[in-house]
C-alpha cells in the first residue's frame, strides 16, 4: 500500500519527538473513509493515497501537505519538511486569530453521495469509496457532460522537474537544483519558493496544487522566491508539454489504454523517411503482451506510426501515443498508418477501458 511507512511515521509520532511536539499544538484528525468528505473543500489530486491539510475551525485551509510524482509516491514526503510546514501553520493560525490573515471564500461543497455514478458503483454495492475512484468518476462525469479537458483533468499534477526544479526535500521548498526553464528565469540553488502565480505557497503540496491550476495553454508562469530574505519574482517560460506526466500509476477509465509505448522520431529520422518535420511520427518501442490477448492492434517494436485517422500533426502531441491519449475516447477504435520494413501499411487499433471496479 502506497505511503504506508510515511503514514506510520506521522501517526505514531511520539509526543516528545520534534514532529510530535509541533503536532501537540494541533487537533489531529485522520480520516480513512471518503464517504462523507467534502471533496469540494478538500479538492486534490485523488491519485494520492495519503494527503494532509492544515486548516482551522472555520474551515479556512492554510496549506496542504503531500503530493507525488509519477515515479514514486514518496519523493516529497519527509517528516522534517512536515515539521517545518506545521511550524509555519502555527504562524498562519496566530495571524488568522489576530485578524491579520484575510478570510478566503469557501469552495463550493460537493459530497461523494451527490455524484450519481459514484453512488451507483460504490455506495449501492456497499463498496469502499476509494480516493482514486472520486477522481475517476469526476472525469467520467465530465466526459459524459462533454467538458473533459484531458490536458487538465487527465494530466493532473504537472511535474516540477520538467521545468528544472529539484527541491531539497527535507527543507521544504528550498531549491537544491535549478536547471532548464527555471534556471533560464534566474532561479538559484538556495532560493526558497514562496509564491506560485502570485499565490503564497508553503509546501510541495501547495506548489503542486497551484501548478495544477495553471492553464495548460499558458506560455509562462510567475514564481516568487525568497532570496536572502527578499522576494524575487521570476517569469518562467514554460516549455512545450510542460504539463505532461507519465500516467501509468493512475487508475483512470478516461485514459484510453493502448498496449504500446513509442518515442518521437528525431528531425533527421523524419527527413530520411520523407515525413513532415512538425508531425507526430513516432517509433514503437514497447508492445504489451496484452495487445494480442485483447486484440488491441498488431504493432511491432520498430514500427513507425506516421498518422492516426488521417492526422499526422497536432498542437500538443509529439507522438502517436500521446495523440491517441488526447483525442480518443477509451474504447474507441482508430486507423493507424504505419511504416514497417520500409513499406506503408494501415492497421486498426482498438483502445480499451480500464475496468477497475467499474
Amino acid at each position: 500500500m502506497e505511503g504506508r511507512v510515511f503514514d506510520a511515521q506521522v501517526v505514531l509520532s511520539p509526543k516528545d519527538s520534534p514532529l510530535g511536539k509541533v503536532l501537540s499544538e494541533y487537533v489531529c484528525a485522520r480520516v480513512t473513509r471518503m464517504d462523507d468528505v467534502d471533496v469540494g473543500l478538500f479538492d486534490r489530486d485523488w491519485n494520492n493515497a495519503i494527503y494532509f491539510f492544515v486548516l482551522n475551525a472555520d474551515e479556512q485551509i492554510y496549506m496542504r501537505y503531500g503530493g507525488r510524482e509519477a515515479q514514486s509516491p514518496d519523493t516529497y514526503n519527509s517528516v522534517e519538511s512536515m515539521r517545518i510546514a506545521l511550524e509555519q501553520g502555527l504562524v498562519l493560525h496566530r495571524k488568522y486569530l489576530q485578524g491579520e490573515l484575510p478570510k478566503q471564500e469557501r469552495p463550493k461543497s460537493m459530497f461523494p453521495r451527490e455524484m450519481p455514478l459514484l453512488v451507483e458503483r460504490t455506495f449501492a454495492r456497499r463498496q469502499c469509496v476509494e480516493c482514486h475512484l472520486i477522481g475517476d468518476f469526476q472525469n467520467i462525469q465530465r466526459e459524459r457532460d462533454g467538458v473533459l479537458d484531458k490536458l487538465t483533468h487527465l494530466y493532473r499534477s504537472p511535474d516540477i522537474k520538467t521545468i528544472g526544479i529539484g527541491l531539497d526535500v527535507p527543507n521544504g521548498l528550498v531549491v537544491k537544483e535549478a536547471t532548464g526553464a527555471v534556471a533560464a528565469a534566474g532561479m538559484r540553488p538556495g532560493d526558497r519558493i514562496a509564491g506560485w502565480n502570485g499565490v503564497p505557497v508553503w509546501t510541495f503540496g501547495d506548489v503542486q496544487y497551484r501548478y495544477d491550476k495553471v492553464d495548460r495553454r499558458a506560455k509562462s508562469l510567475e514564481i516568487t522566491v525568497d532570496r536572502e530574505g527578499r522576494p524575487v519574482v521570476l517569469t518562467v517560460a514554460l516549455p512545450i508539454r510542460w504539463w505532461w506526466t507519465d500516467l501509468r500509476f493512475r487508475q483512470s477509465s478516461v485514459d484510453p489504454r493502448l498496449d504500446f509505448e513509442d518515442r518521437p522520431l528525431t528531425g533527421d529520422e523524419k527527413q530520411k523517411l520523407g515525413l513532415k518535420p512538425d508531425g507526430f511520427a513516432s517509433q514503437v518501442k514497447q508492445v504489451s503482451g496484452f495487445a494480442k490477448i485483447r486484440g488491441t492492434h498488431d504493432l511491432r517494436i520498430g514500427d513507425v506510426i506516421v498518422a492516426v485517422n488521417g492526422m499526422d500533426s497536432d498542437e500538443f502531441a509529439h507522438t502517436a501515443e500521446l495523440f491517441l491519449k488526447l483525442h480518443t475516447r477509451a474504447g474507441e477504435s482508430a486507423k493507424l498508418e504505419v511504416i514497417r520494413d520500409g513499406k506503408r501499411i494501415t492497421m486498426p487499433l482498438k483502445t480499451y477501458v480500464l475496468s477497475f471496479r467499474k
Binding site: 500500500m1 505511503g3 503514514d7 506521522v10 501517526v11 505514531l12 509520532s13 511520539p14 509526543k15 516528545d16 510530535g20 503536532l23 501537540s24 499544538e25 494541533y26 487537533v27 489531529c28 484528525a29 485522520r30 480520516v31 480513512t32 471518503m34 462523507d36 468528505v37 478538500f42 486534490r44 493515497a49 495519503i50 494527503y51 494532509f52 491539510f53 492544515v54 486548516l55 482551522n56 475551525a57 474551515e59 492554510y62 506545521l86 501553520g89 502555527l90 493560525h93 486569530l97 469502499c128 476509494e130 480516493c131 482514486h132
Partner: protein
C-alpha cells in the same frame, strides 16, 4: 536463560508501551468542534487504506 533477541524484543515492547503518542481523532466533525473549543488549528490526514 532468555535469548538476546527475545530480550531485545521484550525491552522494545516495553519502551513502545511507555511511549506517549499523538492522539488522532477519527471524526472530522469532532475535530472541528475540538478546534473551535481550544482555538487550535487542525492537522487533517486523508488516508486511503484500500
Amino acid at each position: 536463560m532468555m535469548r538476546p533477541i527475545a530480550l531485545i524484543a521484550l525491552l522494545s515492547q516495553a519502551a513502545f508501551a511507555q511511549t506517549q503518542f499523538i492522539t488522532w481523532n477519527t471524526s472530522y466533525r469532532e475535530a472541528l468542534r475540538e478546534a473551535a473549543a481550544t482555538k487550535k488549528p487542525i492537522f487533517l490526514e486523508f488516508r486511503c487504506e484500500a
